[in-house]
């Protein structure tokens, strides 16, 4: 056989081999595309989870459980079944989430229940409206929120208290507090949403030449304009939590929910105060 014959022979085998591989690849193509879509949806949820963790948990809760008196939960059954009817939304729930996240809320739709973080009630998050997120990030975030649907609890329920509520008496003796637990409570009870993440309320951390809340609490009660009843730093903090109208820091309106006396136990309040006192 000449070289040409050999090459023709081998060439035919190679073409058949290549064709066979493309055929095998093609047969699997439909399944591969499905698999890719599933993986893509999963990776969108992962991205959305990270975005939620960085931007949303301060107001809507670490696990989307919401913060009573501030921001609505996003992980309950009501949100997935009733919310669209409530606001008269005609698109899909995913569109509703995307639209709300992108444009934010100038005023709350449920001001008594969830006034949100002041004005606007929810900031706009899309780059187009001055926010930090791209459209694809907002889509990922919506995919993450939609993923709560299958496990959404039936009703918004107030978590039951582990003990008697602390009440509004600021002279009471509180149990010894645990600062580490207080830090966790600051996030789970929603304090961080206004006092750490945003500045809807006076910032806890040292800022604008002022020391942190731990130091400020002691000096505040000596100020001339202070009209509350506290006589020590601990009492001032307790008063600020359970009796929000007693004294309002100048420059801030009363926005803080007034029901913490009923929704916190004495131990939780003590933990929170212990934590706040560590922020110098």
């Amino acid at each position: 056989m000449s070289r040409i014959n050999v090459e023709i022979f081998l060439g035919i085998i190679i073409v058949l081999l290549t064709g066979g591989m493309i055929l095998a690849y093609g047969i699997n193509e439909q399944a591969r595309m499905e698999e890719y879509k599933v993986a893509q949806a999963a990776s969108a949820i992962e991205n959305g989870a990270a975005i939620f963790d960085n931007n949303c948990k301060g107001c809507h809760g670490v696990q989307g459980e919401g913060v009573a008196g501030l921001c609505p939960p996003l992980n309950d059954r009501f949100f997935f079944t009733e919310r669209m009817k409530e606001v008269g939304w005609t698109g899909t729930l995913e569109d509703y989430i995307i639209s709300t996240v992108a444009g934010g809320r100038l005023v709350s739709t449920r001001p008594e229940q969830y006034p949100g973080g002041g004005k606007p009630a929810m900031p706009s998050w899309s780059e187009q409206f001055g926010g930090p997120l791209r459209n694809d990030q907002i889509r990922d975030l919506a995919a993450f929120i939609m993923n709560w649907e299958s496990t959404a609890p039936d009703r918004e329920t107030e978590p039951s208290l582990a003990g008697p509520p602390v009440g509004t008496d600021i002279t009471q003796e509180l149990p010894p507090g645990d600062a580490a637990n207080g830090e966790a409570l600051a996030t789970s009870k929603g304090c961080a949403g206004c006092h750490v993440t945003t500045n809807n309320g006076p910032a806890w951390a040292a800022s604008a030449g002022q020391p942190g809340i731990g130091d400020r609490a002691a000096t505040r009660i000596e100020q001339d304009d202070y009209n509350g009843a506290a006589t020590s730093a601990e009492q001032y903090l307790l008063e600020s939590i359970v009796s929000t109208n007693a004294y309002v820091v100048p420059g801030f309106a009363i926005q803080m929910p007034a029901n913490f006396g009923q929704s916190l136990t004495a131990q939780e309040t003590a933990d929170l105060i212990a934590y706040m006192l560590t922020i110098k």
Partner: protein, 533 residues
């Protein structure tokens, strides 16, 4: 009798009509000749109709009539130039298809790639082929140049061909680099940001060049459009133009160089004569080219289908966040390595420019008339040294070389990289059991004894993390930035959502300088179906 005569007459007439048509289509070869070509027989007519094709057909006109037999020896050319051209045409073909599905705007580019991969039949195969072909084209261009250099084929009347070849190397890099940005993922965005920032180092007009390339101080919509147009219009046009010159010189002017031994070696006149004998394009070279084409296609398809090559796609480009371990495309690592050695404008612009000029001028600098390896020791040793230097510089260009990433960041990045695959992402979802796993001197052999099948992969990943932290905490003789004195570390796995788990890695240690307790923490979310990143 009359009847049969008529029939023969008709047959003859029809035969000659068909033959005439065939001659027009094949630009000179009749039916008998075609048959002889396929059978490997000698030409059937005189003058040789196979040469006529080269005069009458445009496409064959630009091909060689013949090459000298000795120049086609496999171990002389390795067909490197052929395969460079093969990959160029493969890129044109797959690129034209990919263009249909692509939108060059920052808001839509990444999404269009996702849709190509998830919604287009053979879409992923096309993208993989295009990417693999691009890498191969760069490799083959470089090897082709190295071969030409070592065989001394750039000398005498081939010096201009060498010069066009160096320009083609630049165009190939330009083609590959401009395509790098188009998927608009983190890999693309930051590799190109690094690449173009080298232009910024140019003296006097660096800022302007950078602005011209990126369309704005940072790459955005303008930059993407520029790279896209460069990739699909400017560079391909340039490539076709310069390839035409380069190839025409080889095919019609001076042919492929003979191996040096036939030109200047001590071989008999008969061997020399045989080496210089003609190997005709039709049928020998043509059939060989068709054969090589099938071989090239097989290699590319097998690389993807059988060996599992897949074009990488990281997360959406984010100008606000530079991922750790960002690097330029591999063919620019040597440049990154040089940048680590000294001043940005000297190492990034002036030296490379000199290098390119020297490369262009090689045939004019090297006046040694000999081509044999043994008669040009200087040229060969400089060539080999350059290759070694290029490899060493490329290694130095890697992000792991000479960059002092703090130990905690390094350890966690190794377990769960910000982008791309990593050990943690390889752990099957069911093995990622929720719990708090603390780093200790003696970590448990089995992390999740509560499940029947255990979690071997997860245990292995955790042991890697555990050992890295313990090593940084206790080993002697580490650099300060590699140390984690009194380190305490955990890996926490939490159930976060339906089919979604959150992994937190936290390392706390006493800072080497201040002695203060320092913490580094990272959260990773892993979904059951994500199959890694």
């Amino acid at each position: 009798m009359l009847k049969s005569l008529n029939f023969q007459d008709l047959r003859k007439k029809a035969g000659s009509a068909i033959d005439h048509r065939v001659r027009i289509i094949t630009a000179g070869m009749g039916l008998d000749e075609l048959r002889a070509v396929v059978r490997g027989d000698p030409p059937t007519e005189k003058p040789n109709p196979r040469y006529k094709v080269h005069t009458t057909s445009f496409l064959f006109h630009i091909r060689p009539r013949y090459y000298e037999k000795g120049s086609t020896i496999l171990s002389h050319t390795f067909r490197l130039g052929f395969f460079t051209a093969f990959f160029f045409f493969l890129e044109l073909f797959t690129g034209l298809i990919l263009m249909v599905y692509y939108t060059p705007s920052p808001g839509a580019a990444y999404q269009s790639i996702l849709e190509l991969e998830s919604n287009v039949f053979f879409g992923q195969l096309m993208r993989d082929m295009h990417r693999l072909g691009a890498e191969a084209m760069v490799i083959f261009t470089a090897l082709h140049m190295l071969r030409t250099y070592l065989t001394g084929s750039y000398k005498k009347d081939r010096s201009f061909t060498w010069l066009t070849g160096v320009i083609l190397l630049g165009i190939t890099l330009g083609l590959s680099f401009s395509g790098y940005l188009l998927p608009w993922d983190q890999l693309a965005y930051w590799a190109v940001t690094i690449g173009t920032s080298m232009a910024e180092a140019a003296p006097i007009f660096g800022e302007q060049v950078n602005l011209l390339l990126r369309g704005a101080p940072d790459i955005g919509a303008g930059g993407l459009l520029r790279f896209y147009l460069g990739h699909v219009v400017l560079f391909p046009l340039l490539a076709v133009l310069v390839i035409s010159i380069h190839y025409y010189k080889v095919s019609r002017e001076h042919g492929i160089s003979l191996p040096a031994k036939y030109e200047e070696g001590n071989v008999s006149a008969e061997v020399k004569k045989n080496a210089k004998s003609r190997l005709d394009f039709i049928p020998d070279l043509l059939s060989h080219e068709v054969f090589l084409t099938t071989l090239g296609l097989l290699a590319v398809v097998a690389g993807i289908v059988a060996l599992g090559y897949s074009a990488p796609l990281e997360s959406h480009a984010n100008p606000q966040q530079t991922p750790l371990d960002t690097k330029a495309p591999w063919y620019f690592w040597w440049l990154q390595g040089m940048l680590k050695l000294g001043d940005k404008s000297v190492m990034g612009i002036i030296l490379p420019t000199i290098l390119v000029l020297v490369l262009l001028a090689v045939p004019y600098i090297d006046r040694n008339p000999h081509r044999s390896l043994f008669k040009r020791p200087w040229a060969v040793s400089i060539g080999i040294l350059s290759v070694i230097l290029l490899i060493v510089l490329s290694y130095m260009g890697l992000p792991t070389y000479g960059i002092e990433m703090p130990a905690a960041t390094r350890i966690i990045q190794d377990v769960a990289p910000e982008e791309g695959p990593g050990p943690l992402y390889e752990v099957p979802f069911d093995q990622l059991q929720p719990g708090v796993y603390a780093v200790s001197e003696n970590p448990p052999d089995e992390l999740c004894p509560q499940i029947d099948f255990g979690c071997p992969v997860f245990t292995e990943v955790f042991h890697g993390y555990n050992d890295d932290v313990i090593h940084a905490s206790t080993a002697e003789g580490l650099e300060p930035y590699q140390q984690l004195p009194n380190a305490e570390a955990v890996m926490v796995v939490e159930d976060w959502q339906n089919d979604l788990r959150k992994v937190t890695m936290r390392i706390t240690w006493d800072d080497v300088e201040s002695g203060e307790s320092t913490t580094y923490e990272k959260h990773v979310f892993i979904h059951r179906n994500s199959g890694g990143e």
